[in-house]
Amino acid sequence: MNRKATLFFLIGSIVMAALIPLAVIADRRYERTDIPRIAIIPDMDKMPYLKPERSSDLFADHRGMRPHIPGTMAREDFIFDNMAEQRAHPNNWKKDHVVLSNGKQFQRVMYGQVLTNGQASFINHIPIPVTRRLIARGEEQFDIFCAPCHGYNGQGNGTVNIYDSELRAEGESREAGTWVQPSNLTLIGVQALPDGGIYDVVTNGIAAMAAYKDQIPVVDRWAIVSYVRVLGLSQKKVPAYRLPATVRTELTNRK
């Protein structure tokens, strides 16, 4: 080999070697990786204090967030979650927040029940002021928590139910689920329940439906009850003669 060839070979390999780090970087930049972020100077990135959902060696089970002690409730569970909302939305809840003046009111708001002669029964009316804002809030929360199963119109055919019936129609046999169709909330069966009864279904669940008390704060549950009433009223079948005359003529003229 002559000198020139050696030289080219040498420079060539150096250039090729110099490309390797660039290729590694390009791979890191454009491909998914299961290597966590690389801290070049990790100064105080990870400190030993507890952040939410972080594990801790202080406890035998390594749970940094301690579970609830049975029979107790966190102070912020009721009053403060609504206040946090209020802080986040200064003009949202100012007027509607609940004042717990006494134990009776607490019983009505928390459990949707009243005690008469030691006998608990569901209350007929939502125990907090039903405002336009509460109903709007109810619609928003219903769409988040109930619509996947009961559908946006409350008729019991949300996306999960549609998906499940598709699986069944295809004769999908890989999994024998026990899904039952969610109730139609617009029908008399549900609409005849007292407000406290619907609140109780959301809070504690019923038969095949799970409890939502851990996911939805108290005031939002009442907001949802108000919206369930809206769904019922707006989809109620009314005899034609009870409609206003203008609406009736419009309907009869429509082809």
Binding site: R32, T33, I144, T178
Partner: protein, 236 residues
């Protein structure tokens, strides 16, 4: 003998000089490229996609089934921390759907023992930075801007660098990133849908503001950029 110079550069030294000069120029350029490209947050932070204990798919649950982010991340509008869903949330459906699936083994185990599923944290800021979800989400900033199209991800990965320059690029001028508050979890939202926009804002299509960003900035009382770039906001 005596008129011969004391030292003669050999012939190859001409080539060597050229090579050394070229190297003196090229190596610093190379190092700058290497550092700029390699030690940059886009390279170091983005695309982290850990293997999770349960093969849970956002593309299916949040995308195809259309479940709202808040069904699972319930605290995102209320608290600083967005919170992953407890096992009970999955059991709401999975008690009846795919109850014996091998993919859900961890969920059943966790439900039985009460021990949480050891999800791996994907987006993770250094501990000396304070971040608050409620403040951003209630100011009309969508999950999309900071987490990318989660509703199309089979497995979540970090989509944005989340470094300081990235945070500040928005804090200097948040207006272009704003949208109506009740659309923040709708990752397919577009301002082009005028009727929907009017409904969200409680206006009519005729009275829609010309500059949506500036209008929302005023309506949601977004603090000025001087306040939003104060070091103490994020480091305290």
């Amino acid at each position: 003998m005596s008129d011969r110079p004391f030292f003669v550069f050999p012939r190859w030294s001409d080539t060597a000089t050229k090579i050394i000069l070229a190297a003196a120029v090229l190596i610093p350029v190379y190092l700058v490229i290497l550092l700029g490209y390699g030690a940059n947050a886009r390279t170091l932070n983005v695309n982290y996609q850990p293997i999770q204990p349960v093969a849970y798919s956002h593309a299916f649950h949040a995308g195809k089934l259309g479940i709202n982010c808040q069904y699972c991340h319930t605290d995102v509008k209320r608290a600083a921390f967005a919170a992953l869903p407890p096992t009970q949330t999955c059991i709401n459906c999975h008690a009846a759907i795919a109850p014996h699936s091998a993919a859900l083994a961890w969920i059943r185990k966790s439900y039985k023992t009460g021990m949480p599923v050891p999800w791996k944290k994907v987006n993770d800021l250094p501990d000396y930075v304070y971040f608050n979800h409620a403040a951003h989400v209630n100011a009309g900033i969508s999950c999309l801007i900071c987490h990318g199209h989660v509703n199309e991800m089979t497995q979540v990965y970090q989509a944005k660098p989340l470094n300081m320059a990235w945070c500040l690029q928005c804090h200097r001028d948040p207006a272009p990133f704003l949208r109506p508050r009740n659309e923040v979890t709708n990752l397919n939202w577009t301002p082009a849908n005028k009727t929907r926009l009017a409904k969200d804002l409680g206006l009519t299509t005729a009275t829609l503001p010309k500059n949506l960003g500036k209008y929302l900035e005023k309506r949601y009382h977004i603090p000025n950029s001087k306040l939003l770039t104060d070091c103490e906001l994020c480091h305290h």
